[in-house]
């Protein structure tokens, strides 16, 4: 017998279930318990950059909205800096910018939305540059392990065309599933990003 490799094994995932809100967004479950719920303020009031809203629905394989989904958001600030100790430019991070958020849907319509600052481009591997993007993580009843995807911006066509991750998607006709559509509403930019778990135009999900 060779020596054992004594690594631990990752704990297995289980679905977040229908009552995920109790733990992660108790106000939505119908009660107040914590002084402050986490994840409602992604960018803070003072971070520079363009203020945007992102909204959409998550759609299941039957074409129905998923009304009990919870999404988490992770992104860089407008200068492409992450509020994290391993970002080499962390000391340039925008004041009060966290870059993380937690979003739930309207229980009747399935619509979700969050307000943030549009991120800047960030470094990629081996000296490359990634187009501005927001990382999303999706959990819900019926999702056995959280789904990772990315949101890119349709007004960044040039950067998107050079993005090493988008370019890795072999099926070119699937790339648009990661690109949010910009419009203006009451003078403010809104990006629409619907996520299709299954079926026509299934969103690209990542094994990170």
């Amino acid at each position: 017998m060779p020596q054992p490799l004594d690594y631990l094994r990752e704990t297995a995932s289980q679905t977040a279930g229908p009552y995920v809100h109790i733990g992660l967004a108790p106000g939505a479950a119908g009660f107040q318990i914590f002084r402050r719920e986490l994840g409602w303020d992604i960018a803070g009031p003072n971070a520079p950059g363009e203020r945007i809203r992102v909204e959409g629905i998550v759609i299941d394989g039957t074409g129905s909205p998923v009304k009990d989904v919870l999404l988490e958001v992770w992104q860089a600030d407008a200068n492409g800096v992450h509020a994290h100790p391993e970002d080499q430019r962390r000391d340039q991070a925008a004041e009060g910018f966290r870059g993380w958020g937690r979003v739930i849907t309207d229980f009747d319509t399935g619509l979700w939305a969050f307000d943030t600052v549009k991120p800047g481009p960030v470094p990629g591997r081996n000296g490359s540059r990634q187009a501005p993007h927001i990382s999303l993580w999706i959990v819900a009843r019926g999702i056995n392990i959280g789904l990772h995807t990315r949101l890119y911006f349709d007004d960044e066509a040039e950067a998107n065309a050079a993005d090493p991750v988008l370019n890795m998607i072999e099926h070119v006709n699937r790339r648009p599933t990661l690109i949010a559509q910009r419009s203006m509403r009451d003078g403010s930019p809104v990006y629409r990003f619907d996520i299709r778990l299954q079926g026509d135009n299934e969103t690209v999900f990542f094994d990170l």
């Binding site: 004594d6 990752e10 704990t11 009552y19 109790i22 914590f34 402050r36 000296g127 690209v204 990170l208």
Partner: protein
């Protein structure tokens, strides 16, 4: 040009998907229409994946980890008093310090405090059912709560969930993000649960079952269960000082 080439803590071990439930698990019916059909696209780590949210003691309050007191209105909640404690580790066995652990659960009767839960068991006026804490500098965490009850759910006609506590953990990076469920040693419902049985690996199921820990129980007060949580590990960067541009 933007670069992130300088030596840095290593990238994450590839996730061993064989121990996790696949997305499509027909025995858990809700997964059928909510599971992607195409293969996931495997992506090497970039700064977007190797970073993640950082939390501090300003984000939470000390009472947040005590589910016996954090929603008590007229007295303590009904149920078997327990401590749940353990350590958040990575696959190399290193404690993960200062990471946020959040839990939620049903009350002792198997009822959730949630506007969408209509099970006939009563709401406990003194039990909210959620808590959160940060691990200490060595990765240890603890909660106090009451043991949740089993409850029926609509999957098959007579499907029941074993007693369980939902657990959410962050780690230091967005690729370590994990939600799971903790079960209790000796519960006969574990082996007939369609959600537990989405996990194809028996050892991975065992790893979700917290043993009774009499050494951590408080005599004449409460029992204890121990639940360690393992997040993905990071490679060491041996022989990886690449030349610029490579």
């Amino acid at each position: 040009m933007l670069r992130n080439d300088k030596p840095r803590p290593g990238e994450f071990f590839q996730r061993d998907r064989s121990l996790h439930p696949p997305q499509y698990t027909p025995g858990y019916k809700t997964s059928v229409a909510r599971s992607p059909r195409y293969a996931l696209l495997s992506l090497e780590n970039t700064i977007s994946e190797m970073t993640g949210p950082v939390f501090g003691h300003n984000d939470i309050d000390p009472i947040d980890n005590d589910l016996i007191k954090n929603y008590a209105k007229t007295g303590d909640p009904i149920g078997e008093r327990i401590i749940v404690h353990g350590r958040v580790l990575d696959e190399s066995g290193r404690g993960v310090p200062n990471t946020l652990v959040e839990i939620w659960q049903a009350n002792a009767g198997g009822r959730y405090r949630h506007k969408k839960d209509t099970y006939l068991a009563p709401i406990d006026p003194n039990f909210g059912g959620c808590g959160r804490t940060l691990t200490d500098e060595n990765g240890f965490y603890f909660f106090r709560t009451v043991k949740p009850g089993a409850y029926p759910w609509r999957n098959y006609v007579n499907s029941w969930r074993p007693a369980h506590i939902h657990v959410s953990v962050f780690g230091t990076s967005f690729v370590q993000r994990l939600i799971t469920q903790m079960y209790f040693e000796g519960d006969p419902l574990i082996k007939v649960c369609p959600i537990v049985n989405t996990i194809p690996d028996p050892q991975a199921i065992d790893q979700l079952i917290a043993p009774l820990d009499m050494n951590a129980a408080i005599p004449l007060d409460c029992l204890a269960y121990k639940f360690d949580i393992v997040l993905r590990g990071r490679r060491s960067t041996l022989f990886e000082n690449r030349l610029e541009g490579n």
